[in-house]
Every structure is written in C-alpha cells, then in structure tokens.
Subunit: 350 residues, 4 copies
C-alpha cells in the first residue's frame, strides 16, 4: 500500500474543522498530519471534542507557515473569510495543494470580493489560478488545480439545482428565484444571539433579503454556465434544525411543452457521472434528513404546466456536501482517486 | 353585564377544537355550552387534555343537530373537510350562526370545491350566502354573515402578504410566487407517518408541489382583489416546529421606481384598521415565533431594485390567526364586539 | 378604578426582563414605569424585541438609583447574580418594594452565598429581612415583605415536588434524589457555546453533577420544611427545548403501606389553596408543554410499593412559574391582590 | 476474498429494519439476501426509503419460512414483540443463525415474559438456548450462540452503566435508581398520538413510572451480574429528539472512601476489551449527540462524597448500539470477526 497523504487542517476547532477531522479519519488514503487553531494552540483536539478523543491524539498548533509546509502535502483552510488569502500564497510557494473552504478564492474578480467581503487583496496572480471547487461543474479543472476555492452550502445547493437549466438554455435567465432554507450550523460555532437554541428553536425567518453575499458568487457561476449574464433572486431562511439545507428554485421555462418526465431525463443525463448527486424519481421531493451525514445532494423537480415554471428542489448536508465533504471530494480528484473515496453516500434515518 | 353568548364546538377533540376551547375560556363575553366529538362522546374534555381539566368540566357529546341548536347560539365547526356542509344547513335553519374552519364554505363555485375535495354538494343556496372569513379583507360582509367560511393558515398568510399588492395593482398578477413554510401541527392530530416526530424532526421538505388544494382558494380571493384572473405558484414546505407559518412571497413590480419605504407605507395604510396585522419597520423580517400563541400576523418586506421584485414575508400562528383565532375574530365582528376581543396579541419569547 | 401601580424592571433586555414586560403588559393593575438596561441604555425596547414594538414605546435607561426611586413604587431585579445586593439597600431606603429574581437574597446565611457565588457581602441587615419568594410555602411572610428573593426554576420545581413529603415527615430525608431536566432558555440570553442551537439540539446531557449551586438553596428550604437537616442529590440535565422544566424526584417512604391514591390525597390537601399548583389525577404525569406560557406547576406522582419509594414529577415553565411569573405572584401578594392576578393559568397546546 | 455471508432481515420496513439495511450495506463481509415485510410485500425497498434507492434494489417479500431458509445463512428479526418466537424454531431447524431484536428471547423464565408481554409460549427448549446479546457482558457465550436475544436501548444503556458496580459489589443492590431519557424514535414507526411531532416537540414527560416492562429484563441481568437479587427503580422519559438515549444511574456506595478517579479506573479496566464502550475522562459527561449514528456507548461518572453515591451517565444511539448495531456486533462475534466490523465508531457533530 502506498504511503498515506499527509493532510493538514487550518481552523480545526470550528464546525468545518471537526467535519474534516471526522471524515478524514475514515478516509483510507490520508493521515491527519497537522491541526491548526490559533485560539486553541496547545490544546489536545480530544479536549475540544471529547467524543473523538479515542480516535485522534493530535494537539492543536499555532498557525505557522513553515510548520504547515513541513508537515503536510495538502492543506484545508477552514477559516473565516479573509484569512485564506493571507496564507495561500505562502502555502503554494511551499509546494502544497490548498483547498480553501472560505469565500476568499471563489471570485474571478477580486473587486467583487472586496466589495462584499472587504479586505485588501494583493494576491491577484494567485487568485487567478484558483479553481471553483464544485466537482459536478468543474471536474476537469479541479483535477489539476493547486488552489481550489470550495463553494459553501448555499451556492452548492443552488448551482446543482440550476445547472442543467442554464447549461441547456431551458429557462429565462432573468426569472431565477432561489428560496433557500438552512440549518443553524451554517452560521458556524461563532457566538451570536440569533444562533442560540432558545432563539432559533420553533421558529423560521428570512434574513439578508435581497442582499446576501452569496448572490454575486451564485450569479458568477450561473452566468458562466449560461454564457450570458444571469441575475438571481436569492432569499435565505433559518430553519430550526442543526444540519441540512433545502433549496427551492423557481424558473420560467422557455419551452412550455416540456413535462416533468422530460426534465427529469435531462437532469439524470446531466448528472450521470456525478456520484455525489442523486436525481429522484417522478413526484419524489427530497428531505434534508436523507442527506444528513452524507456527501450526497438529492434533487427532485416538478414542471408546472399551468404556470410554465419548473420548480427544482435540492437537499444536502450543509456541513458535508455543502462544505467539508465537497473539499475532500475535490482533493480526491486532484489525487486521481474516485471522487467519493472515504465520503459517506448514505445516512441514518430517521 | 349582559348574559354570555352560548357557543358550541363541533370537532372539539382535535387541534382546532382545543385551540377554540383554550381561547374561548379566556373570552370575556362567551361561555362554552357544547363540545361535540363523536369519537370521544361521553369522555370528559379534561381527560383528553389533562392540562385543562381544572378549567373545564364539560363532557364531549355526540354530534346531534337538535342538541346543538338547543344548547348554542353560535357554533364553530372544527371538523375535517366534507363534514360542515352536512351540518350547516340544519344549524342555520335552527337559527344559529355558523363559523366553519374547514374548506367547505370557502368556495364561490361548488364545482371547484368538488374537483379538489370531492363530495357531492347539494347546498348551493346555503353556500352562496357564506362569507369568506378573512376580516382584513371582508370585514363588513362578515359583520352581518350567518355562515362564515374561515380560511386556514396557508391562505391567510398568503393573502395578507399579497392583498395590498393586488388591490393597488402594483404587481404583474402572473408573477406571484408563494413559498410557504408550515409547522407540523398544520397536519392536525391525525396519525400519519410524515407527522411523526422522528420523521419530521431535523428535516425540511416540500410537498404537493404545483398541486396543493389551497391553490384554487388563494387564486379565487387574489382574483377578487385584483379584479382580474390571478395565477399563483404555491409551494408548501414542512418545517421542524410544532406551530407557526411563514410565507415568502415574490412578485414582479409594475413600477420599478418604488422603493422599500414606499411599499411599507402602502402596507401600513392598507392595514391601518387591522388590529390583527402588524407591519414591521424597514429591514425587519418576521420570525414565526413572534406570532406563536397570538392572533397577530407580522409582515415585513423588501423591494429589490436590482431585480424589480418585491419580497413580502408574513408570519403567523397557524392554529390561531391561521385557524381558531381567526374564527373567533369573525365571531367578534358578527356580535359587534372589538375584533380582537379575548384574543392574545403578544406571545411569549423565546 | 384605583391608580395603577408603577413598576420598574432592572435587567429588562434579557429573557427575565422580556417575560416581565410581556406579563406586566397584560396585568390589569400595574403600569411599566421604568426599564433599566445598562448595555442598551437609550435603545427603545421595541428595537430589542420588535414583536412588542406596537405594545410598548418605552426606552431602556441606564440603571440609576435616583431615577428608579423617582419612577417606581415596585421594582423587579432581573439581573445576573451579584448585582441585586448592590442595588437593593438603596432601593429599600428609597421606599420601594424589591423583587429580586437572582440568587442574591435567597440565602439566610451570607457565607453560604459567598462560598457558592463569590462576592463580598456587607448587606447582612438587609439580607436578613428578605423573604424567600415561593408563595406556596411562605405566603404569609411574603404578604408583608419589602424585599423578596424569588427562587428560580430548579428550586421551584424541586421544592414544590418535595414540600408535602418533608413537611409531613413521609420520607427518609437522606434519600432525596432530584433528577432535573431543563430547557435551554434556563441559561439566559448570554452567549455560550453550549447554548448554541447546533450544540443543544437533538442531544441530552447532564452537567454540574454533584456540584450545582442550587443544591445549598434547595437544602436550606428542605431543611426548614423538615425541621431537620436534609441532604439532596441533585442532577441537572439540558434538554433540547427552549422552555420548560421537569423534575423527577425519588424518595424512600417511611411508611411502605402508603399507596399512590393516599399520596395524591395528601398533595391535593397540601396545595388546596395554591392556585398556581395543579395536582394531576392518578396515573397522569405532567408534560412540560402543558405548563408552557403559564404560571402553573403541574404535579403527578406514583408510589412504587415494590421499592417502597415515591416518585414525584413536577413540570413548569422555567421562565414563568420558574422566574418572572413567580415574582409577579409575590408582588400580587404584597399588594393584597389575588395571587394569580394577570398571570396565565393555561397555555396553548400543542 | 471469501464469499459474503447471506443475511436476511424480517421486519425490514420499520426503523430497526432500515438501520440494519443502512449498516449492512457498509459491512464488508455480508450481502443482504432477503428483506421480509408482510405489509409491504412486493414493494421495492427503495420506494419505502427513497434515499436508499440507489444503493439497494431488493424488493420486500412476504415472510415465509422456506424462502428465508433458502436465501440466508443469518437472519435478523426486527419485528414487534411476539413474532420472533413463532419464527425462530423453524429458522433454527433450517440451519440459520438468528438474531432477535425483540423481547422474545431475552428472558430465562418464559413465565416472566408472558406476564409482561402476554402470548402463549411453547418454545421453552429453544428459548433455553438463547443467549442474551449484550457483547460487553456475554461475549464468550455469544460467539457460539445460534439464537441471540439482543437487548434494546433501555437495558443496554442501563446495564452498561451498572455492570462494573454490580460485578464488583461496589453498591447496595437495593439502591439502584435509573432515570432514563429516550429519543422519540424508540417508539418505532408505529402511529401513536404521543409520537406525533406536534405532541412530542418542546416537551419532556415521564411514562410507565414504576411499571415499564424493561424492569424485569434489567433486574434479571443485574441479578446475574451481582450474584444476588437486585431491584431497580426505572423511570423512562420521552425527550424531544429523534435519536439518542441517556441513562442517569444513582446508587449508594458500599465504600464511601472511593473517589471519582478510583471509580473511573475501575470502569476503564472493566471495559478495556470493549471496543464499543468509551469511558470518558474525569469531569466529562456524555452528550447523546456524540453517540448518534455510532455503535459506541459513552460513559461518564461522578462520585458524590457528600451523599456517598455514585452517579453514572451512559449515552448511546437507541437505534444502533441500542438496537441494530448491537445485533450486528453479536453477529460479528458469531462469525469470528472483529466485533465492530462494519460498525461506525464516531459520528457527526454537531
């Protein structure tokens, strides 16, 4: 058996970090060689997450470039937005492959990034080389990438729902409405009043209506797929559940003669090679729970002939296919491995 | 002090029934004179709901027309669809005022009813006299009604969100999309696999996409408001919470120059007399929890000038303003009382 | 009608504060004359809790003794432990009646307080005059108190379950085991990782096993009731629900001949005058949801003749009967009003 | 590679069945050769659980002895109590190894079974050969068993918490109190009002106080461990979460000089060979979420020197270590495989 790939995680103590640890512990071809967490430097990871103490005895370390370069061949950056772009240039220079889970390397245009996320970017050359890490759309480019900007839960669920429509020119690109429903873990382990159990439980609400910062990212990729400028209406909602995401997408059909079965055939063909996407049968709509603890995105749809719209539903685990699993899927591709290697495809129910 | 109004409840053992009991116990001008529940005839109500045993000692009775007519001046029918139309003609003939919480008396056209709900209706004359029981839209007609078909949670939340737009002709009536999120109690106390805790918890899913039977009801009232045929896209979702409903409405503006503040002013004016509706300030979107245990509907909105759409959010308690509280509000109007009499306006938080 | 009593709330922005506002808004004999919240001084209360904006237009103020004394006749201190004892002496000197919701005035022995809560107490004379604010046990003393130390959720649920047993000498006082289950709002609106939705949802755990600081408080009152030193085993658990508390109490019977029906009779007699306590029928055990949004404590029990133990179950809303409602109940007594005046006795279900 | 073991599942459509399917699909040495489900005979399993449709194309079959014997070498009976004992004798006669997840083969004394579960047992010879399927206590006997009566969630969590205490004679065997907290899926997929989301959400309650039918089973094994008659107080509670179980055990120590660290050492030694049990460090108490989706039982404890009691906390997934995973663990032992083969040891968090 070949030697195992030495991987590191920066930002190991947050939810992204602990997903990566959990998944990589079960991955047959890698070993965890470094855990970076500035605020918990010196603390055994098993103290932060006692349920993993018997599986990993590594201690969190300060985030130091030389140490990461020495310890790892591959590194995952599970840090807040604005950190990755201070680290990636050095890591690449040190010969590492970098998978960034933040927004830092998802934008072709750094001015767009800066206008939504702030910061002062001087890494244009590095950013230009970054590949958008959605394997279902950019598989070939990811295979050879050194730097991957992995999309999060909202763009992943939205783009997987929209891609066949846009790529095939089936809809009016100005009619896209995405009504998204997210579990509370999407906000991370950061302490915010709105993330408290007592606040979020037994309640639903929208937030950042018409101005969520995933809008430019979704529009960038949609436009790339459609070969023309696409505008989306995107409304995120907070749902009283820890994990999971559902996107309900509405779009006006160009050809009102298309029926649900036709559309399902188009989706099945589009995702035939995509082992992380499952298109459901006619009349079946996904439950987010089906995707929980898996790297699978479930898609169902309906064509409403009365209104000449298609309604697409996509469900995934916001912390796996919508975050850490997606990054590992991209890593698998760069190593020439099967893209679902080490990633769970089915979850527990109920 | 005047004698109290004697009210009865048919279908007292379900969720609609127990809401009515709970609310009417606190109502200063009524007394509960009859509880009908065929399956629990002879059982003290306090055995079905022990937490109310110290407040009500009435026993459930079989549903018999003569007994109801003798006992009550007003009756609420909290029965499954298809029961009310077998009872209402007799109750009206007996001189009672009838508030039906089912779908039976919400349709102008009984053929529409029959095509969605089945049944064999021969009560056209009675149905013609029924008034649609949404006080914010039909207050004056309700005041003198003998038979009120009270709308449920989906139509109430949808219509309160849409009414100012349609009445004032502010939107393209073909562009209405309603993405609705409902708590699980909306399915009632009936035993269904999908309503089990283990199934519904930690999960979100859509259902009845493009074919929910509240569509014709919503379209009927929207068309009445707009004075022209309106078509809506309506997608209901099940949310892991017991109570509460949120509607997210999307529509294309006719005048793209309108901004959020203008729209809020229009909504505030529209609902100035509506003590059960609260229009929120700019940038505030309602949480369903705010409405829990109240007869209040909270409305927030945003105009997206980029997409030329308005997004309206309305939140209510599906079992109060979306069901039993609404019926009591209508009853208050028929008695000439203040419409919120005995109805809670603020809830507990968190 | 007499003039309304002017009441103030210090610590208005937390969960205790917003419960008091909610309940006092519906109280027929009081008006809210002052809201103190240092961190939100100058902020309208309706900005903190938009769902209440249409009912209260008062602005939060800095906590200043003179202002409180000028504005109020009665004040509720809903502040963290360690604040009340810096305010109460001055408030009493200013002629106000003080209801403290923190632990500061619940201890006869200030050394016990200091060993569990820290701080440096020099208010022994004031503390000596404080009355323990559990109306079911100390009703007469509360009526004339100027300073009431109101017990929180754990002691209230525990003591109401235990009191008849101890007062009547029915159990071995060394055998008391209290297994308590609390909703997450018990931790307040403070930001803690363990209170995040993603952490607390879908999980149960114990905490502070054998060393929770409510132990000395519970033992102090138990010993007072029993007329001898009582030791309790107390284990709190965090339950994935926002509100509610259940205590499961185990104790060894002195007289193994006693059966459940006898014991229920004893409890009913003990709580005959207690309008906030409901003893349930034989074989009925309380659900916390029954108590949600009410000032009622539901009690059920079982005698196990096989093991010669009694198991008592008490359920209440941790933020009403376990906090703010209790304080208002005490205030009602000091004013000579019916003790449940303005307090809800029944909640919504489900 | 050796041929795969052909296993069958009777009762495949319930929660136990779907756990077995989920786990066995990932097991490297078995293939699912038969799915029995009388009520769904003829229905593809992927229609019952669409999220698994892409992984299993087997159709549910009627439960017929000959068919099972022909198709399988090993069979799991995930049926309601009272079914297994009608099937097991024939299955054993056909040469199969049988793992029963119901209560039918957990009792040494069939009269005890009949007095709690009813039925008319004539399979005493078969029942005598059954082994109690808790590997941590009966590992050697399970290795050679043909018929295993696998314990469910309450006995498993209770016995794993109690075993070291009883085996080593550390406690007064009359002092055992077990306060158990279960997720709602413990009631299965059967339709009951109390299992509805709207009823079980946001609430906690005890049930079957002093008379739950797991009491005789727990006492039977406790007595076997202690070598003397042991009596337990057992109180189950329903918790608003889908999966998970926590047991809080209280017992009076024989030697009050023992401290927490001593006790932890004893537990660690007792479970040294038990790969499915993890004893936590000092001061750490398990959260049920840690165990979710795993076959691991986490145990924490505290000795209270003040009260001379030990408090033990054990957490597991009621549907894995408390049901299906346990049965697979026993099967692994009978095949001479590592006992955790194919079973997940760590879960997702949060």
């Amino acid at each position: 058996m070949a030697e195992k790939l030495r991987v590191g995680i920066v930002g190991a103590s947050g939810y992204g970090g602990v997903q990566l640890v959990r998944l990589l512990l079960d991955h047959p071809r890698v070993e965890i060689a470094y855990l970076g967490a500035n605020q918990n430097a010196g603390v055994p990871f098993g103290e932060l997450y006692p349920q993993l103490a018997h599986r990993i005895d590594r201690v969190c370390e300060a985030v130091e470039l030389d140490r990461i370069v020495e310890a790892c061949s591959v590194v995952f950056l599970a840090t807040p937005n604005g950190i990755a772009y201070t680290l990636a240039p050095g890591l690449l220079a040190g010969g590492l492959r970098v998978f960034d889970l933040s927004a830092d390397y998802r934008f072709v245009n750094l001015e767009t990034y800066q206008s939504w996320y702030g910061g002062d970017r001087h890494d244009a050359a590095v950013a230009r080389e970054a590949v958008y890490g959605l394997p279902e759309l950019y598989r070939e480019r990811i295979r050879t990438a050194r730097l991957v900007g992995c999309p999060g839960c909202y763009p992943t669920a939205s783009l997987l729902a929209a891609a066949p429509l846009l790529k095939q020119g089936l809809i009016d690109p100005r009619s896209l409405i995405i009504d998204a429903k997210s579990g509370v873990s999407g906000a991370g382990r950061t302490l915010k009043t709105g993330s408290l159990f007592a606040e979020a439980d037994s309640s639903v609400a929208a937030y950042s209506v018409a101005r969520h910062r995933h809008i430019p990212e979704i529009e960038q990729i949609c436009s790339d797929l459609a070969g023309m400028r696409v505008q989306v209406q995107f409304t995120p909602h907070l749902i009283p559940m820890a994990r999971g995401m559902l996107v309900t997408l509405y779009a006006q059909l160009r050809d009102p003669g298309l029926v649900s079965e036709d559309m399902l055939t188009i989706y099945e063909a589009f995702y035939r090679q995509a082992s992380a996407v499952r298109v459901l049968g006619s009349g079946i709509y996904p439950q987010t729970k089906w995707a929980s603890g898996t790297n699978t995105c479930f898609i169902g749809l309906e064509v409403d002939q009365r209104t000449e719209r298609v309604i697409v539903l996509s469900a995934l685990d916001n912390l796996v296919k919508g975050q850490s699993g997606q990054a590992i899927q991209a890593m698998n591709l760069t190593q020439g491995w099967e893209e679902m290697l080490g990633l769970p495809a089915v979850g527990f129910y109920p």
